[in-house]
Symmetry: C2
Subunit: 241 residues, 2 copies
Amino acid sequence: MPADALLFSNSRPPGAEVPFAHAAGPLRDHLGHRTVWFVGWARHDLDAYTGWVADALADVLGPVDLRGLHREPDPAATIREADPARETVLVGGGNTFRLRRRTGDNGVLAALRERDDLRYAGASAGSNLACPTIMTTNDMPIVDPGGLDALGRLPVQVNPHYLDPDPHSAHRGETREERIAEFHEENALAVVGLREGAWLFRSGDRLTLDGHTARLFRRGHEPTELAAGTDLSWLLETPTS
Amino acid sequence: MPADALLFSNSRPPGAEVPFAHAAGPLRDHLGHRTVWFVGWARHDLDAYTGWVADALADVLGPVDLRGLHREPDPAATIREADPARETVLVGGGNTFRLRRRTGDNGVLAALRERDDLRYAGASAGSNLACPTIMTTNDMPIVDPGGLDALGRLPVQVNPHYLDPDPHSAHRGETREERIAEFHEENALAVVGLREGAWLFRSGDRLTLDGHTARLFRRGHEPTELAAGTDLSWLLETPTS
């Protein structure tokens, strides 16, 4: 059984300027007093991104020992040698294809797979990376990801930033719901469309939605609405239906 | 010099129910009286898709000899043996990752690369496939595409269904412009964001925007607006700036 995972749609819901302010309690409980290794490879400017997140967490949670994993001489070794009682991982958002590629190339992805006893928190692209695959990202494939398989910290796909169709839009591209239906033409995994402000929390054999509503997509079923607080533990048992 | 290519943002601009009705003249000129091999692998139901497009073209252009390439015993051989004076290719929209994967697996992608003397028309995913890479698709990576490289019928990337930022949106995911800026963090190719109803036409050393406006993104430059009718031939000479 992997360690606890806290997966946010996004660090900043609409109207919120301070990242993670909407989820201070759950995030504080999850991180505890651990050193937080920040995995920022979804973005281009790693130092700037790490600094921004460190400042934000200090505002919301008080002092946090957050460190950019990219500054380590051997980032994969730092993960492989981490102590789960004292260290944890926070994976930031940005471009999921870049995150998959960079962490694949530098060995951090493989190290995180080995060390599923480390608690994991992710936002947006960081939540995509926790899933079996990154196939339900919304991002543009700006680099070859080197594979679409990911960490599988839960047997369910997350679609972050889930967007309802806009009946007034002149856009003729696919709606998000249509894109997820295309995913189910090719794949059987359930997809949780997390609206901004929502998160999933996996702890042992429990999976809970919180923070906001979500929409659940299962192959061969009509989509259903999920209220904040919904127990989704059954999805951990029936990953493909 | 590759043969003429006609690349649509989409077959149906807002308000138009009949595909290609907005572009009947250019499409008729481009297809001529050729047999049209329809490449529909971006979608799941190939027969239904082919029938829908055949009916639509008949409505708009009158009788057209459109045939589903997927019904051929050896689709790649059909392309390799095609006569450019009598046969042409139309690549439909859907999911770009699926289109890249299926045509990579069945050899049609390689055949189309060899046969760049065949006229090419594409819409949405079909336009993505004509570019150097599929990196500026908007689609979800529902299957491993088997590579992001594509046909390179022009040295410019198309972003179909280009969407301007919505100032009223509560969505906190990246805007399309932000996604293209991420592309330019990693790549140098110019990107033409084709709004619904717009198309690019490449003929020899000429490249023209028509049908609607577009937005041009070049690495290291501010984005610029392009009117319908703009001559973009200079982009064929300076592919990376």
